[in-house]
């Protein structure tokens, strides 16, 4: 079996395994919750954990394209949608935890938080921006939007991940090591993207550049 070329049913199996893996953080939380394992402040624990996994899934999703280019494993692209949707799954849990467990539907308090607390403002913005990406993740939506427009829209993932890192950075009291790691990884991914873009621009002939711009 060559890793460069997987057969369709091999990809199908891989997806099934990956799906189960992506559910591990959630299952772990549920198990801990059922066994008094979430510590003295369970709500904080759940909030932190779901937030951490949202950022992780955003970065994992964004690393699919660079990985595919470096390795030549084109099937990696077939996993990207699922990874992105898991980012949305964890951010939905994160947001629900905040609205329900943390604030207990105190809408006035929530609105005040969103307006007044910069770390909540950017976190909320990132969540809202992720909704259209999740909504346009189906094949039908890709067709309806057209590949070009769809791609442009989904570049917002970089903006969303940046806001996510900022959200984490602004909420920690003093120990910024973890947000710094997330930020560095994101910066690296962005850099790789820029390098590929430059290579493509310098490699292309004037006529193709013009036709791309048209």
């Amino acid at each position: 079996m060559s890793l460069a070329q997987l057969k369709p049913d091999q990809v199908k199996w891989l997806k099934a395994v990956l799906f189960a893996l992506c559910l591990v953080p959630f299952s772990r939380l549920a198990w801990l919750g059922a066994h008094q394992g979430l510590g003295a402040n369970p709500i904080e624990y759940i909030t932190r954990s779901t937030g951490w996994w949202t950022l992780s899934f955003l970065l994992i999703t964004l690393s699919v394209t660079p990985l595919r280019r470096v390795s030549g494993w084109n099937w990696l692209l077939r996993l990207r949608r699922m990874l992105g949707l898991f980012a949305f799954f964890y951010v939905s849990l994160h947001f629900t935890t905040y609205i329900w467990l943390d604030q207990f539907f105190d809408w006035q308090g929530i609105l005040k938080d969103i307006a007044k607390r910069p770390f909540i403002t950017v976190g909320f913005t990132a969540f809202v921006l992720l909704i259209p990406l999740a909504a346009t993740s189906t094949n039908a939506m890709v067709r309806r939007l057209g590949a070009k427009r769809w791609q442009r829209l989904h570049r917002a993932a970089y903006v969303i991940a940046t806001l996510g890192v900022l959200h984490f950075w602004w909420l920690v009291k003093k120990d910024i090591r973890e947000p710094l790691i997330f930020g560095t990884l994101l910066g690296l991914l962005f850099l790789i993207r820029l390098l590929y873009l430059r290579r493509r621009l310098t490699a292309s002939t004037p006529s193709t550049v013009r036709s791309q711009a048209a």
Binding site: A30, G33, A34, G39, A40, N41, P42, I43, E44, I46, L93, T96, T97, W100, L101, D102, Q103, F104, G109, K112, D113, K116, R117, P118, F119, W170, L171, K173, K174, D175, R177
Partner: protein, 318 residues
């Protein structure tokens, strides 16, 4: 969501603190006994600490205790800690503070005092009758506990060292030993950790020097062997594992002030009306409770301490 609102737990279901302690104590004690016997015969064993979980003798109740509050379980008080010298995670201190040696230990008093003195820890424990002080503890992060500390009013120390008229503030310095405290190796804060009080705050009967918790010797992760507790201030004002008490004329800079003066002021009195620049302080989550409750002015100790700040703009002196 699988997270259910926890049902009220009947008291009979809760493992008693003694039994909870004994579970591990028994194993530890049997292992330690064997090891100690071996080492003692070899002549190389010296006790490192007065063990957490050892009963403190003659602890009496205090009229200054806060009444009408349920105590936060011992397990939560000893596993959910902010003690950056042992790492910034809440469970780091309980996992790594066992490396701290609390014997021998001494506390130096110095500065503007007529009788500077180095107190041995054994002397501190016996300096004044030990009292149980049940206090609310409000963390600046928005959570709170109710903790039965053991200690006595800090004024007992002040009385003995006799500050001069120049002493306007007290500065507390915590231990900063990278060998025993792995968190010190990270420049997260400006070590050693220092905190401070105005003289009248330090003299206030509610301000205590604390050597115990739940009737027992203070666990390392809670600031052993000796710490201060000022119940109307945010938790970070309560310096832990204190090695030096200095009486000074000028207001000392505190560690969190040095870290971020805009967010952490010298006074740091619990105040629901003055928000942290990044989050609200109006409410708090009592550990063990589901919903949030309103934060009380001066953490509910306004009757006793509000007069200390009469005429002061608490938005300016946060």
């Amino acid at each position: 969501m699988l997270i259910k609102r926890p049902a009220a737990i009947p008291p009979s279901e809760i493992t008693s603190r003694d039994r909870y302690l004994n579970r591990r104590e028994f194993i530890r004690a049997s292992a330690a006994l064997g090891a100690a016997a071996g080492l003692a015969t070899a002549g190389i064993w010296v006790p490192r600490s007065a063990h957490a979980g050892t009963k403190l003798p003659d602890v009496r109740k205090s009229a200054l205790s806060t009444a009408g509050e349920g105590l936060t379980p011992y397990k939560d008080v000893t596993t959910y800690n902010n003690y950056y010298e042992f790492g910034t995670g809440k469970d780091d201190p309980s996992e790594t503070a066992n490396k701290l040696r609390t014997r021998p230990w001494s506390v130096a008093t110095e500065g503007e005092v007529s009788k500077p003195k180095v107190f041995d820890i054994e002397e501190i424990v016996k300096l004044a009758p030990l009292e149980e002080r049940v206090y609310r503890m409000r963390c600046v992060e928005g959570w709170s506990m109710v903790i039965p500390w053991v200690g006595y009013s800090f004024s007992e120390i002040i009385r003995r060292v006799q500050p001069t008229s120049r002493a306007k503030y007290v500065q507390f310095t915590s231990l900063a030993d990278p060998e025993q405290m792995h968190g010190i190796r990270m420049p997260i804060l400006d070590w050693p950790y220092t905190e401070g009080l105005r003289m009248d705050e330090a003299m206030h009967p509610l301000t205590i020097l604390c050597v115990g918790l739940y009737g027992d010797v203070l666990p390392n992760q809670d600031g052993a062997p000796v710490r201060v507790v000022i119940p109307w201030k945010y938790g970070f004002k309560n310096g832990k594992s204190i090695v030096k008490i200095r009486f000074v004329e000028e207001q000392p800079k505190t560690t969190w002030q040095l870290a971020n003066a805009r967010e952490y002021g010298f006074y740091s009195n619990v105040n629901p009306e003055v928000d942290h620049p990044r989050w609200s302080q109006a409410k708090e989550r009592r550990i063990g409770e589901f919903g949030k409750r309103a934060t009380l002015m001066f953490n509910g100790y306004g009757d006793q301490v509000a007069s200390l700040y009469a005429g002061m703009d608490l938005r300016k002196y946060y």
